[in-house]
Amino acid sequence: MSEQFEPSESSERAERAERAEAAERLRRAGYSEADVQREVTELEEKSATAARIFDLRRIIGGLFVVYGVIVTIAGITDSDAEIDKAQGININLWTGLAMLALGIFFLAWLKLRPTAPVTPTLPPEALDGKPPRGE
């Protein structure tokens, strides 16, 4: 491993040599943390998921808009018998509207905060965790 390094400062060189030596010692002892780290880091650099995976929000948004429309229409055209079955609540209408709202929420989120372009080694950090509410 050590031949890959081209240290610019002597202190850094010493530190790296020490680290490489430790890694070498571990390697001799069997499969070690250093092996896993190296293997996974190499694979992470070649990985294509971050760059090529599509945005899930589009799929959730699309599916729920379609489902929302279908179920809402079913609700509008429901007969009294169907409403009676559902304890007097037009459950198709309410569920349909709620699903439509969820679908629109995901599409709006996607529109407002589109996927950030990916830099080669670092995955995108802009879109993360929380909906853009209140920002």
Partner: protein
């Protein structure tokens, strides 16, 4: 005590009675879902270039996706039907599986354990054991996990077949072939990304199914007050409380006291499941950085706190509407609670959503097991002991092949599920045997530096054996008196934990410890050399701080107990 019955027999007997009045509208909704599932598989295929993409989504997914997949991988249909069954049988005790039996463990995983898991860059839970202990512990845990994953995947497939047969009238083999083929297709195409994306989708569909069902169910029995009044009258006061009748020595339907609930379920079983079950942990390991990995179980904790209402309410409503449910006097089994309410309450349209949600949940439950199985089998067993050092593309191909073999094996093992009527009980039994010893080995290995190389293997072996002996010999042969299967699970879990811990300590005292430099980033108080990754922009926002998310979840879960405690 409940007599275990054969679910296949039950389903066949129920086929005519529980048949849902589905029409073209419901089938359209179901059909659209299947198309989208396959579409995700094909679209995700582009992103698979390396084995890391196939098995771990290239460690690149955002926290909201991995978090919802984390909760969804657990929210399989066996869990949904099983927890509704638990509620119909044991009442409000079901909340324990969520508030004490999940949240503390999820928070612990996110805050305490994730830096070691994610920071050490391991690709699986067994791989962590390889680094911390030795090949013995690694091979044993990999083999146990692969075995358990296939068994549980088979349980899902079998449960799907009997439910689909009862509800839709499809022959069992059709349901098994169709579901198996779809899971096989989308995982071999897109790998873990496809499994995770489908899990997130399933999460929303299952909510869209369970929320209307719970609302209508409550309306039917006169709201929450009407529900509790009826149940208090028919089943006694304790049925609608969390802790009533759980004093040591007192009698309650669960067959467990507060001590076995807190230690057995809340500590051993739950920590074992949530922190070392790779089908769950894999979701967090696919997150794009340490912060996102830590937040994965924490984001999952919030939906988890409230999902209990969506499975418990239908179960309780069914117990009111069919007072004899689960007894010889009724045709309905506890597991039929949700299908029964779907039949009674949902008009076409929402019914289609509910059927889709159930099928999606069955497939996602199976997919979670298959996608974790193929990872462990390929990276931990095949690439380390059988065919070593081949080029990366070979392992991607092998991963696809083993996925097909895994699905085929699941089909083959599906019939094993037939000896328990309460599917949940079956799963818990398996977890008490496979996850508990894993958990004890982890917890000792992570917090006790002195735990030696060899102690991992012997702890794992002793824990598994002790849990099995307790369950199959002491309990099943009536040598010790525990009133129910669930109660016996809790005790078996505690036995497995104690045996594993004692053996680990004993073995460690007589064998050589690992050197300090081999333990960097694997033991509490050390930092992995690879963890010097800079924090990502925006991850320091207050609402993304793991400690805040974790403590909020814990406090919320504790507050939820208040209305059920008095």
């Amino acid at each position: 005590m409940r007599t275990p019955t054969d679910p296949a027999y039950t389903a066949a007997r129920l086929a005519a009675e529980l048949r849902l009045p589905t029409n073209w509208l419901d089938y359209t909704i179901l059909g659209i879902y299947f198309v989208v599932v396959l579409g995700i598989g094909f679209a995700a295929r582009r992103s698979v270039k390396t084995s890391l993409d196939f098995f771990l989504s290239g460690r690149s997914l955002p926290a909201w996706i991995t978090g919802l997949a984390f909760v969804s991988a657990n929210l399989a249909a066996t869990e949904i039907l099983g927890m509704a069954a638990n509620s119909a049988q044991y009442g409000a005790y079901t909340v324990h599986w969520y508030w004490i039996g999940a949240i503390p463990a999820m928070v612990f995983l996110g805050i305490v354990m994730m830096p070691f898991y994610y920071g050490s860059k391991v690709r699986s839970v067994p791989e962590f054991l390889l680094l911390r202990f030795d090949r013995g512990a690694h091979l044993l845990s990999s083999a146990l996990f692969a075995f358990a994953a296939i068994l549980i995947s088979g349980v899902n497939l079998y449960a799907l077949a009997i439910v689909v047969e009862a509800l839709l009238g499809w022959p069992q083999w059709v349901a098994i072939v169709v579901a198996g083929a779809f899971v096989l297709a989308y995982i071999t195409l897109g790998g873990l990304s496809s499994a995770i994306y489908n899990e997130v989708l399933q999460f929303f569909v299952i909510l869209a199914a369970l929320i209307p069902l719970s609302v209508l169910g409550l309306k039917k029995v006169g709201g929450w007050d009407g529900l509790t009044d009826s149940l208090t009258e028919s089943h006694g006061d304790d049925f609608v409380t969390a802790w009533g009748g759980t004093g040591i020595g007192s009698d309650n339907p669960l067959g467990a006291n507060w001590l076995t609930i807190v230690l057995g379920l809340g500590f051993v079983l739950s920590f074992g499941y949530w922190t070392t079950n790779f089908a769950e942990v894999q979701r967090a390991l696919s997150a794009k950085n340490l912060s996102a990995a830590q937040r994965t179980p924490l984001i999952a904790a919030f939906p988890k706190i409230f999902i209990v209402f969506l499975v418990m309410i239908p179960g309780l409503v069914a117990a009111v509407l069919v007072p004899k449910i689960g007894t010889a006097d009724s045709d309905l089994q506890y597991n039929d609670a949700i299908p029964y309410l779907m039949q009674e309450l949902l008009p076409n349209g929402v019914l289609g959503i509910a059927v889709t949600g159930l099928l999606a949940a069955f497939m996602a439950g199976m997919a979670a097991n298959v996608s974790s199985f193929n990872t462990v089998f390929t990276t931990d067993i095949w690439a380390k002991y059988v065919v070593r050092g081949r080029e990366d593309a070979y392992y991607v191909r092998f991963g696809r092949l083993i996925t097909a073999i895994g699905v085929a094996a699941s089909v083959g093992t599906a019939f094993l599920a037939s000896s328990f009527s309460n599917i949940m009980s079956y799963l818990q039994t398996l977890f008490s045997f496979f996850n508990v010893p894993m958990f004890v080995v982890f917890i000792v290995g992570m917090f006790w530096k002195r735990a030696s190389k060899k102690s991992g293997f012997w702890g794992l072996l002793a824990g598994t054996t002790a849990a099995m002996v307790n369950y199959f010999v002491l309990y099943k042969q009536d040598i010790i008196g525990i009133p129910t299967d669930q109660g016996a699970n809790f005790v078996s879990a505690i036995a497995g934990f104690v045996a594993g811990a004692v053996v680990m300590v004993a073995v460690s005292l007589f064998t050589a410890p690992k050197r300090d430099e081999e333990l960097q980033g694997l033991v509490y108080g050390t930092v992995s050399p690879g963890m010097a990754e800079p924090p990502a922009a925006g991850d320091d926002a207050w609402y993304r701080r793991p400690a805040l998310l974790g403590w909020s979840a814990l406090i919320l879960a504790a507050l939820c107990y208040i209305p059920f405690s008095f």
